[in-house]
């Protein structure tokens, strides 16, 4: 029996705001509560664009269709309002914020969710942070590092997962979080995602990846293939295995621009 969808993307068309070049050309996607969906696809096919449009990046304009989170149209909301509504995106290229520690950043993010006049309890926050870092096997000193500034590629990805763990979204969009991680780190990140889902079985995950590898650890309910701004095939985990064996050549031929 299918659960009611957390995320419903219908006929989504989007372009680069300034250039007006269309990148998403009618994306259809539905994710149920607690489901894990993977999106694979060749470079430049629009996967990150989809993630950013879901999160509300101002550089892209939605030209048609809708994106609903628990029925609410996200396209009407600012990025921070989408975050408050439960969207989280782990960036493919996390942005550096010099001088701001991960701990301070997360504290500000949690504080921002509270009503005006309400103050985040610092002890509760510390417990939450320590707990999440323990779950991800991180050294507590990691939270004192600046947000992405001076972090290695793999550390940046781990920091994204830590943020997800602390913010506990309803929908986590992980854009190539597995790229750049060593084998051990990949296992830790995967274990973290699984543990979070155990804690919160309703959390849905949209996992953008190029590799079958992470799907060995995080079992997807569905795998989609995106080519040239559209989802051209959806199926079970076997889709990823086929891609691993055959590549995108077949899809490219049938779905050229």
């Amino acid at each position: 029996m299918k659960k009611s969808p957390i995320l419903a993307v219908r006929g989504l068309r989007a372009s680069v705001a300034e250039a007006g070049v269309e990148i998403l050309k009618g994306v259809e996607l539905e994710i149920g509560a607690g489901e894990i969906h993977a999106i694979m696809g060749p470079n430049g096919s629009g996967k990150s664009t989809l993630a950013k449009v879901i999160a509300g990046h101002p550089g892209y304009e939605a030209d048609g269709g809708h994106v609903r989170l628990r029925g609410e149209n996200l396209l009407d909301l600012e990025p921070d309002e989408r975050a408050q509504a439960g969207v989280f995106m782990a960036f493919q290229y996390p942005v550096e914020i010099p001088g701001v520690s991960i701990a301070n950043f997360l504290r500000s993010a949690l504080q921002a969710r509270l009503e005006d006049g309400e103050e985040l309890d610092l002890f509760d926050f510390q417990d939450l942070l320590t707990g999440c870092m323990g779950l991800l096997g991180m050294d507590p000193s990691f939270a004192q590092r600046a947000v992405n500034d001076g972090l290695s590629g793999g550390e940046k990805k781990q920091s994204e997962i830590l943020q997800m763990a602390v913010l506990k979204p309803a929908l986590a969009v992980l854009d190539e979080t597995d790229s750049g991680l060593d084998i051990d780190a990949l296992k830790v990140v995967a274990a973290g995602v699984n543990a979070l889902r155990e804690e919160n079985p309703e959390m849905s995950v949209l996992l953008i990846t190029h590799y079958q590898r992470i799907l060995d650890h995080v079992q997807p309910d569905a795998v989609h293939v995106m080519v040239n701004g559209r989802i051209v095939e959806s199926g079970g985990p076997e889709v990823a295995l086929e891609l691993e064996a055959q590549g995108y050549e077949e899809y490219r031929r049938t779905h050229a621009a």
């Binding site: 990046h57 950043f105 103050e119």
Partner: protein, 471 residues
């Protein structure tokens, strides 16, 4: 946040601390300046003859010097000065205990926005209200150690020899037009002496504000850190908003004797019609260490370049400065390091933020005299621009007459990036919060050097400033 709420609760807009309390000065001279006014000031203060002579000589120097043509726009200043009251004295007596401080003055202090921190440090604070110390109490421990922390007037009265030996030696009246003006009409400020070998863990704090329309504030501070001593002096101030231009021109002289360590911290947040032209300089002797930590917010125009004259072998000077230029404001700030002796070292780190039509200029001088062998200096200035209309410029002057010296200079300009804003907003921060966080991160290397309550205050001011930056 509740802290912001408190300030919003005052119902103020542009300048959050722009309130005025009624306090009738006991004595106020007429506006404008001439020898008569100078004589009145000296007479009211019951000063010795030599000081009056100095004042009059300084007045002549002031009158003979032209307005500076470099730096910021001073074209409207003459008019402002003609309207300025050069002296006022709120109370006859120095107050020793907090209970004795009149209610309306207490109210002013409380409304400054950091009442908790203020109360905490009251035991050791010297606070200036209008032109003179109203409240001034010294920790017993310091008295026992022979530390002097007085109003400048008491310094002159009670320690005449020490005072006369150093007054005007670091910054003579002839140094520049505004130093001359200050030397003629100075009133209020601190006199500090740290005896040899004395280490103070708790900073000496002076909190003052200007609270009278058209009152020029000419505070004068003289500090002597004797051999091998260690201390930290903190001054912070905010000023209320007025319709006419106001003027502040302080002079801070510091003597850091051999192997002493001294740090002087200022956070200034003037209302945005204020001219703020300050001369602050330290003479740093052999093996001594001087640090200026300087934060400038508000004002219409600030021109301020804390300087270290590295006079003795191995002396070290450091200048850390933060400038915030909001709409219509010009912060022309930086620092000067003068290497006179061998193996002297210095560093200047300057960070500026320009918002709206604000302009932040870095102006710095690094001079190495012949014979200052193996002197080393490093300058780093970083500017952050918030809006397209914001402006920054850099004027580094480097003069090196010594071959073995090493001097480095690095400057960066960055803009708050859309990707940064999006990243932070995607975690739930609204645009103003995201902006404030980026700015806080930018100044963090300097803010972390501040005592906690000042860092909190600075962050709060920046949050308030950022609220108007989006849209």
């Amino acid at each position: 946040m509740p802290t912001n709420e408190v300030i919003h609760g005052l119902g103020l807009d542009d300048y959050k601390f722009g309130f005025v309390t009624d306090s009738e000065p006991v004595f106020r001279a007429r506006p404008g300046l001439d020898a008569d006014i100078v004589r009145q000031i000296a007479a009211r203060k019951d000063e010795p003859e030599w000081m009056l002579k100095r004042r009059l000589r300084a007045l002549a120097i002031y009158e003979s010097k032209p307005m500076p043509k470099w730096g910021g726009d001073l074209s409207e200043l003459e008019e402002t000065l003609a309207q300025t009251y050069f002296y006022s004295k709120p109370h006859e007596q120095m107050e020793r205990s907090w209970e004795d401080v009149p209610e309306n003055i207490k109210l002013t202090f409380e409304r400054l926005g950091i009442p908790e921190a203020e109360r905490k440090i009251l035991a050791g604070v010297g606070a200036q209200y209008d032109s003179e110390m109203v409240y001034h109490s010294l920790k017993e421990e310091w008295e026992a150690k022979g530390v002097i922390f007085d109003s400048i007037e008491d310094g002159l009265r009670n320690h005449p020899e020490l005072f006369r030996r150093h007054f005007g030696t670091v910054i003579p009246a002839a140094d520049n037009k505004f130093a001359a003006l200050n030397s003629a009409v100075w009133s209020g400020g601190s006199f500090v002496y740290i005896p040899p070998g004395v280490h103070l863990e708790t900073p000496l704090q002076a909190y003052f504000r200007v609270n009278q329309e058209r009152l020029g504030q000419f505070e004068r501070t003289l500090i002597i850190a004797d051999e091998g001593s260690r201390a930290h002096y903190i001054e912070g101030c905010t000023a209320p908003v007025y319709s006419t231009d106001s003027f502040h021109s302080g002079v801070i002289e510091i003597v850091v004797n051999p192997r002493a360590y001294f740090r002087y911290t200022t956070i200034q947040n003037w209302s945005n019609n204020m001219y703020n032209l300050v001369t602050q300089r330290a003479l740093v002797h052999e093996g001594a260490h001087m640090e200026w930590l300087d934060g400038n917010l508000g004002s219409k125009l600030t021109m301020k370049y804390p300087s270290c004259y590295l006079m003795g072998e191995g002396a070290h000077g450091e200048i850390l400065s933060i400038a915030y230029a909001g709409d219509g404001q010009h912060q022309d700030t930086g620092g000067k390091v003068i290497h006179v002796a061998p193996r002297t070292t210095s560093s200047i780190v300057s960070k500026s933020i320009s918002k709206g039509t604000g302009r932040a200029s870095y102006r710095g001088l690094c001079k190495v005299y012949d014979g200052a062998e193996r002197a080393r200096s490093n300058v780093e200035c970083d500017a952050l621009l918030i809006n397209e209309t914001s402006r920054t410029d850099t004027f580094p002057y480097i003069e090196i007459d010594e071959r073995s010296a090493t001097v480095g200079h690095e400057a960066t300009v960055s803009k708050v990036g859309d990707e940064q804003l999006f990243y932070l907003m995607s975690r739930g921060l609204d645009e103003a919060e995201a902006m404030a966080l980026i700015v806080r991160g930018f100044i963090e290397p300097i803010a972390k050097e501040l005592p906690l309550e000042y860092a909190v205050e600075l962050n709060r001011l920046i949050e308030l400033e950022m609220e108007g930056s989006v849209g």
